[in-house]
Symmetry: C2
């Protein structure tokens, strides 16, 4: 297996930093690595293992010689630069929402739909953080007993918004503890010691885009257009780690023990479920880990075919950087780096 | 209308303190007020308006001459002292879980089932905080279009646990901000910058007692045993104010505008719902207020007869002290202080 010329676009962001950490931790086959960001960050030097690498400004000409480009610089940047990178011969794995619902772009969670990688034409989309951790857990159950309906309410950390949001939470928390007034900048209202049911923009149907992503992306990844889905996505004063209360209706009754058994063998999933010792997934302890944790698995009292559960993952890792890199690894392993049909 | 001899049991707790504030704010018809608590707090003096009143230890003989006793001292205390208070001639309005599911004890939210007060035999139960705010909003809709199923996931503040929990959250938040290790005392795990899907004890069916209360109490208050209900209750790092993501299935389709109109006329309810200006209920701004706030009202994308919404209230006020006092006020107004059938 050969090494690849890799570029990270958005290298100075929270996810960009995770990209660097995870590439090194996993020994990703890199022949070279280049760090790109906006002109504001260009010239900064970032540690990559023992080296220091200077951040370059992302430009139309940046992608010459790049084979794999990991993007996490926001949808606007992705929309502009990803096609240029693909044209220059790179495969883009994009963590933004820019291409996720495009029919020609695979949207991939390696534990769920790795085969879709093969269909790429130079761009592969990484799903939304909240969606990834949910489908990693639900798909193995769905294969055994098809899911008909999902209701999910999220408890999302501010880390998903970026570094400025983490700082805002810390600053506001200090201010509240000292009896001072807080002034929101990143979010429309105070996030410290508060809950905001608003993530991404509002759509005309009253849902937020974040909530609607969970519906559209789950169906696309699981190849299951008929699953009914409703989500309420809320921001909670947590730094890293998204939690989700999930209520699932299956085609037939699903025994709790059967679900636990299936999930204990499921790739990327770790069952933490022993109420006798208050063992269940938590954002605080999931931060910095690679697995998706599930617990509180119980028969849903409101439906004969229902299960309720609690799902948590590190939104910067499995919810973003890790899944993006896993897509690249899978693509390499299966020798699908060249777009289907060759170039 | 005459004045009544009132006692507060659990006067030094968070809800006890709210009792005092709200009785004064509303000009409750008090001939006298006595403050009771455990022997640890006996002798302490608490401000009641301009006066200072000494806290007495609650004993079997405490209730001589008391006409209305507001209890918020935990289920164990209520189970022991409430029957003694009732026997001594007082009507107990009890904020604990001790009697809520007893068939002979009315469980009342004045906006929903005030008529049930009449059936008391000396004890009236105040529902669980999470249940109260949900039924205040759902009942007016249910009357128009009967509800078949409710899925609710909560974001509950630590204030419901008590003063020690609020202090623990503040202490842990400071420790995290200063990079120190936290040690949990009140909760089994760290609550600062974390979410814990555990409120009250676990039952054999995998639900917590808090979650099961929402099922049992909602049915009892709404006189609707056939409503299917499932809840996940989670503790979030918020001081005061519970938030709830609620997904409701009605018997027939329910238009969003119709729901908003019904709710804008509903007693105790305030609609805060304008996504264009990020207007929706928030725990932070609900704290200290008397209303139950609802927003994010939208057609539930997962069911043709469904609505999704976001409900928030001050769990110490409408969720506890205020509702308890409203029960007492309603009882006085309707001249039901003497148990039905007289004494």
């Amino acid at each position: 297996m050969r090494d690849y010329h890799v570029a990270i676009v958005g290298a100075t962001g929270l996810v960009g930093q995770e990209f660097i950490k995870i590439l090194l931790q996993r020994g990703f086959p890199m022949a070279s690595i280049r760090l790109m960001a906006s002109d504001r960050s260009a010239g900064r030097k970032l540690p990559v293992g023992n080296r220091e690498i200077e951040v370059e400004e992302t430009t139309a000409d940046s992608f010459e010689g790049v084979e794999i480009a990991l993007f996490s610089a926001g949808a606007e940047q992705s929309r502009y630069f990803s096609p240029l990178a693909a044209k220059a011969g790179a495969v883009v794995v994009d963590n933004s929402s820019a291409f996720r619902t495009d029919k020609g772009v695979p949207l991939v969670v390696p534990e769920v739909n790795p085969e879709d990688i093969r269909l790429h034409k130079g761009i592969i989309a990484n799903p939304n953080c909240s969606t990834i951790q949910m489908v990693v857990v639900l798909y193995p159950l769905h294969k055994v007993n098809p899911i008909k309906r999902i209701i999910v309410d999220t408890y999302q950390s501010v880390g998903g918004t970026g570094i400025a949001a983490v700082e805002e939470l810390k600053t506001q928390a200090r201010q509240v503890l000292e009896g001072q007034v807080t002034i929101p900048h990143v979010y429309p209202h105070q996030i410290a010691f508060n809950v905001l049911p608003e993530i991404d923009v509002f759509l005309d149907n009253g849902y937020t885009k974040e909530e609607w992503k969970m519906l559209e992306e789950t169906r696309k990844i699981m190849h299951a257009d008929s699953i009914a889905i409703s989500a309420t996505c809320a921001r909670v004063p947590v730094m890293i780690g998204h939690s989700e209360a999930v209520h699932v209706e299956f085609s037939r009754p699903m025994d709790v023990d059967e679900a636990r058994q299936i999930l204990s063998r499921a790739p990327g999933v770790r069952v933490l479920d022993d109420t006798a010792i208050s063992l269940y997934p938590q954002a605080w302890s999931a931060a910095g880990t690679d697995e998706t944790f599930v617990g509180r698995i119980r028969q849903d009292a409101s439906h004969p075919n229902g299960l309720a559960m609690w799902i948590v993952a590190d939104n910067l890792r499995k919810g973003a950087a890790l899944n993006t890199i896993q897509i690249a690894e899978e693509m390499i392993k299966r020798d699908w780096v060249k777009p289907e049909g060759g170039q």
